[in-house]
Amino acid sequence: MAFDNAYEALADAHDDARWAFGTGFEDPLSGVDTTVPAGVDGDDLAQYCLMLGDDALVLSHRLQQWCTRAPELEDEVAIANIGLDMLGQARLLLARAGKADGTERGEDHYAYFRGEHEFRNVRLAEREQADFAQLIATVLVLTTWRLAVFQRLRESADPVLAAIAQKGVNELTYHRDYAAQWVVRLGDGTETSHARTVAALDDVWPLVAELFETHDVERRLHGVAVDPAEVRDEFDDVLAQVLSAATLEPPQVRAKAGVAGGKGRDGRHTEAMGYLLAELQSVARAHPEATW
């Protein structure tokens, strides 16, 4: 401990009633220049930050649900770590959204007080994972996609997004390698692990095509956002390497349709999303004035 008495570490001079550490600094972008670059639409930039931030927040929540359920302690720790990194990326991106749209809303507002239709994550992130193979397949697909996007996002005309992406690339490399190595072990493992991994990929795959569909917001943010259609080849190449080493084939299944033309990026989600948000948001909504 840095202090003999934990209470001594309280540095928030403005509110003596607070007792938990860290309460004085809830802005993860504190001190970062968050000016919206010239020529960039702030609302579009905020929407784009919510897309990437909600992917991370919702996947992080799904990963957290694996705490105490992983097959081995080491995997328990790994899944929690990946969830923590995703939560960190989400915090930066949601905070960036509140600066970009000029509302100055904090990360908690976006995480806890938006309705389901306001979340912009792809539907794969919210999907429930029925077994470990589905978890690993989901993490492989989403981190492979996200790593390819973040590599390009390092060149974004928004310096804040570029900096978040540059940090994220280093983290995502570890996440993707973890999932890839598990897919190889499971696919090239026993008859049962192979069959369950085949089934998991079949379950996940209908939601993969959605990742590469260019949204109007991404189209308008040329030079700021990454066009996800551009990363399809790189994604296919990585998946081909992993699946080949795992003695698996890319699934041949149809993409899941949207609802009235809308998908996750439009705020149209699957049934699982409502239950996920109920769990994620219930405490904050029951105690809206609480600080922690």
Partner: protein, 187 residues
């Protein structure tokens, strides 16, 4: 408890894990450099390489720090500890800023920091991977790294998990002495 500045005067009423130098000539940087990492208390923030800049003005002090990992929960504690230590040392307004770019790398851990990690039984990181602008190659099998055992010094140890008790550490085991240990993984 490890002291960061064995050559300095003791005292100052703050137990930051390192000794805060006293006297009128003490600079804000000297104080900030004594604050330790909450999860790796054998390292000061300067040893860890997260302390980017300390600027004194007529109005107060501005300290810039950088997160190790995006989700590192120790950031808030580091900020609190910096403000607390600087207030205790008599500095008025203290602002702690976050710097995201360039991203933190384990290459920024100082030589002294690496020695302290090893003394505490934590294997220090090797050189961080150098990445170009092209796609990052996928690792289909656990990477082969030469990490020597911080307990018995054996040259070759085996990976247990690339993820450990904190975001910045991996788990390894030594076949020679059978002891498990943590390794600050390269990033």
């Amino acid at each position: 408890m490890v002291t960061a500045r064995t050559d300095e005067i003791t005292g100052a009423g703050v137990s930051t894990g390192a000794t805060v130098p006293t006297g009128t000539s003490v600079t804000a940087r000297q104080v900030a450099e004594t604050v330790t990492d909450p999860e790796l208390p054998m390292l000061t923030l300067a040893d860890l390489g997260v302390l980017r800049e300390v600027t004194e003005t007529a109005d107060g002090v501005t300290v810039s720090i950088t997160p190790t990992y995006s989700g590192c929960p120790a950031m808030d504690t580091m900020r609190d500890d910096l403000v607390h230590a600087l207030h205790e040392a008599g500095f008025g307004e203290v602002e702690v800023r976050t710097v995201l770019h360039p991203p933190w790398s384990t290459d920024w851990i100082t030589e002294r920091g690496r020695r302290r990690l090893a003394e505490a039984g934590i294997a220090p990181p090797g050189a961080a991977p150098r990445r170009g602008s092209g796609p990052v190659p996928v690792q289909l099998f656990p990477p082969q790294r030469r990490v020597s055992c911080p307990h018995c010094g054996a040259a070759d140890t085996e990976p247990v998990s690339e993820f450990g008790p904190t975001a910045c550490k991996a788990l390894r085991r030594c076949p020679a002495c059978s002891e498990p240990f943590e390794h600050v993984k390269e990033i």
